[in-house]
């Protein structure tokens, strides 16, 4: 009996121990559950971080939203354990088309199978929900009845991405029911999308900034070009004034030099007649028996021979002729300078450009006839108020220049058409072209690439002055070996007055 009491005690002790063990097991079980929950929530946190991190990366990588969204949508499916999703992208730029992705499968649930499916039913649901989202601009949850891939889908969640009040995109998630955990994750998605919206906004502003920067840059370049043109015309004006002064100063002495040379010519003719007449007296006097006369005549004859009077008589004539030509040349140049500097005060009348062009072609035909063909593309234009003589000079100048640049296979094209309240004349040749360095200077007075004495270097500068005087423009483009094109624009009477008004302002 003592043993039995001891045995019963031991048994009680064992039962207590077992009961404690059970208690501990139970505690362990709950600790285990708590631990599992922690692990799960940590796992979710990691996934959430990954999701937000991916969104953050979007800011750096500068992808297009539609190329980037599949990654985010996959993250979302993994995170919320949702089987299917699709997304739409509506770009800021209205010129770019909207984009709807195919139905995507959760990559965790569909390994090895195709990840994209087309479904008309899904398309219909999206078409139904999209206008609602546009209107409300908020997350939308709708109960549906759909079977995809043998899965019963009963809930669709549409999460919009809204940046700058613009609906940039929607992500649609197709779910079988909705757990508390999924609802929690949707909050993370919303936070992520807000972040995405901020990134999109930044990017949009950045692009806008870039565009305005580009606009400013091009405006700046246009400004620089205008400035260069202004400098050029200022230079031309200065040269013009200078030329006008010089021309005036040269003109006066040239006047009397010309008249003196002319008088001198008369005098010299008289001198020569006298000298030649007196030569017969010398020749007769040498034959005289009077020693005094004979000696004087001999001395005179010697002097005649010594100075080589025959040569003097002949050469004086030449010298005078050359001088006269020289003076004429100087007077021509000075006249050109005057015309360039708008010193001419010719009256302006309405002139028909096609007639002037024809006349200039006639005058240049001598030069052009051995240099290929002339092509005319003439359209009807209104008459221009101008000086037909001056304009003729401009065209003649261009045609002659072109003929100099071309060989026998040349082709001169003359184009006349209306353009911006005026007439545009394009004169292009397929000649040797002008190199860049020279192109800058071709309107400068005295600039020429022709041999000394062949060109004065005034032709184009005079043309420039004439066109300026008509309030038009003259430009040149050229390519070495290909040819040159001069483009002249002359304003109509109406346009011209507004232009001069602008000039006054």
């Amino acid at each position: 009996m003592e043993y039995e009491a001891a045995f019963q005690r031991e048994r009680k002790a064992r039962k207590q121990a077992e009961s404690i063990l059970e208690q501990k097991s139970r505690e362990l079980h709950f600790a285990n559950i708590a631990l599992k929950e922690s692990v799960n929530s940590l796992h979710s946190a990691v996934q959430e971080n990954k999701f937000l991190n991916h969104i953050g990366r979007y800011g750096l990588e500068r992808l297009r939203l539609r190329d980037f969204l599949p990654k985010i949508v996959n993250d979302m499916m993994r995170l919320s354990n949702i089987s299917f999703a699709t997304f739409a992208h509506f770009p800021f730029d209205n010129n770019q088309s909207d984009f709807h992705s195919p139905l995507l499968k959760n990559p965790d649930q569909h390994e090895g199978q195709p990840l994209e499916i087309e479904s008309d039913e899904v398309g219909n649901i999206i078409a139904e929900i999209e206008p609602l989202i546009r209107e409300r601009k908020a997350t939308h949850l709708q109960i549906i009845d759909l079977v995809i891939d043998e899965k019963n889908i009963d809930t669709v969640i549409a999460l919009p991405i809204i940046s700058l009040d613009h609906l940039c995109g929607i992500v649609f998630l197709f779910s079988q029911g909705l757990t508390d955990k999924q609802t929690q994750v949707f909050n993370v998605f919303e936070t992520g999308f807000k972040q995405l919206a901020i990134i999109l906004e930044h990017r949009y502003q950045e692009d806008k900034l870039l565009t305005s920067y580009e606009e400013i840059t091009s405006a700046n370049e246009a400004l620089k070009e205008t400035q260069q043109k202004l400098v050029q015309s200022e230079k031309m004006a200065t040269v013009g004034q200078l030329s006008a002064g010089i021309a005036h100063e040269i003109n006066n002495p040239m006047g009397f030099i010309k008249s003196n040379i002319s008088s001198l010519g008369g005098y010299i003719a008289d001198f020569i007649e006298y000298v030649e007449t007196s030569k017969t007296l010398t020749d007769e006097s040498i034959k005289s028996t009077d020693e005094n006369i004979k000696n004087a005549a001999k001395a005179l004859d010697k002097a005649w021979n010594d100075v080589d009077m025959n040569f003097l008589i002949e050469d004086t004539q030449n010298l005078l002729n050359e001088s006269q030509q020289g003076v004429k040349r100087i007077i021509d140049i000075v006249g050109g300078l005057k015309r360039f500097s708008r010193q001419s005060d010719h009256q302006k009348e309405f002139c028909h450009l096609n007639q002037i062009i024809d006349e200039a072609l006639k005058l240049a035909s001598n030069e052009l006839k051995f240099k290929g063909v002339v092509k005319k593309q003439i359209e009807e234009v209104q008459p221009i108020l101008g000086n037909s003589g001056e304009l003729l000079q401009v065209f003649l100048n261009l045609f002659v220049n072109a003929s100099h640049a071309m060989n026998e296979h040349g082709e001169l094209t003359i184009h006349l058409a209306e353009s911006a309240d005026g007439a545009r004349i394009k004169v292009s040749d397929n000649g040797s072209g002008i190199d860049k360095q020279n192109l800058k200077s071709i309107f400068n007075p005295f600039f020429t690439t022709k041999e000394v004495g062949v060109g004065t270097g005034l032709g184009l500068s005079i043309s420039y002055g004439i066109i300026e005087d008509h309030q038009g423009t003259i430009d040149v483009t050229s390519e070495l070996g290909k040819g040159t094109e001069f483009s002249i624009w002359l304003p109509y009477e109406g346009a011209r007055s507004t232009r001069s008004m602008e000039g006054i302002k």
Partner: protein
């Protein structure tokens, strides 16, 4: 099988037949465990079968009767081992309905490896329920004993009809439990 079943079996024998009987059974069966049982451990199913067969020989009581009697005895022990909140059932029927969904879930918390039988209420009648029993151990008689004892503890004695049985080749047992 869980050690708790063995310890309760041992206690039942000691109570009903005395300690000598238990020693005799152990000697006769020559069990791998040597009859050293704790509730925390698992033991071979065969051991309980050997012990029941030996007891039947010892006591001349047929095995099925013994198993059912043990079921009745076991109920008290098991009912005490659960947390009190788990045993707060208003009547027998709610207890039967909760076996799989509440009690066995609780057991698995303590012993994740425990092999509990599937016991479900498949039909409710005016007078009782139909129980579905399924277990590879095919110990439906033990379940019947447990149900009887439970019924008695609620003061609603029942009659149980075994309409189909795993031991007769069915894939499960159906027990029609009806109030007397």
């Amino acid at each position: 099988m869980k050690g708790a079943v063995f310890t309760h079996f041992q206690e039942m024998i000691e109570d009903q037949f005395g300690m000598e009987c238990w020693e005799t059974l152990l000697e006769k069966c020559d069990l791998p465990s040597g009859g050293i049982y704790t509730s925390a451990n698992n033991y071979d199913d065969q051991e309980i079968l050997s012990l029941v067969v030996a007891l039947s020989e010892y006591s001349s009581v047929p095995v099925p009767d013994l198993v059912e009697a043990f079921g009745r005895y076991l109920y008290k022990g098991l009912a005490h081992s659960l947390p009190p909140v788990m045993m707060n059932f208003p009547d027998l029927w709610s207890l039967l309905g909760a076996v799989d969904s509440v009690i066995h879930v609780e057991v698995h918390k303590l012993y994740p490896d425990a092999l509990t039988p599937k016991i479900l209420v498949t039909e409710k009648h005016e007078n009782g329920v139909t129980l579905y029993y399924q277990s590879p151990r095919k110990m439906c008689l033990l379940a019947i004993g447990l149900v009887h004892q439970a019924a008695e503890s609620f003061g609603t004695p029942v009659i149980i009809k075994h309409t189909c049985c795993m031991n007769e080749g069915a894939d499960h047992c159906s027990l029609l439990v009806e109030r007397i």
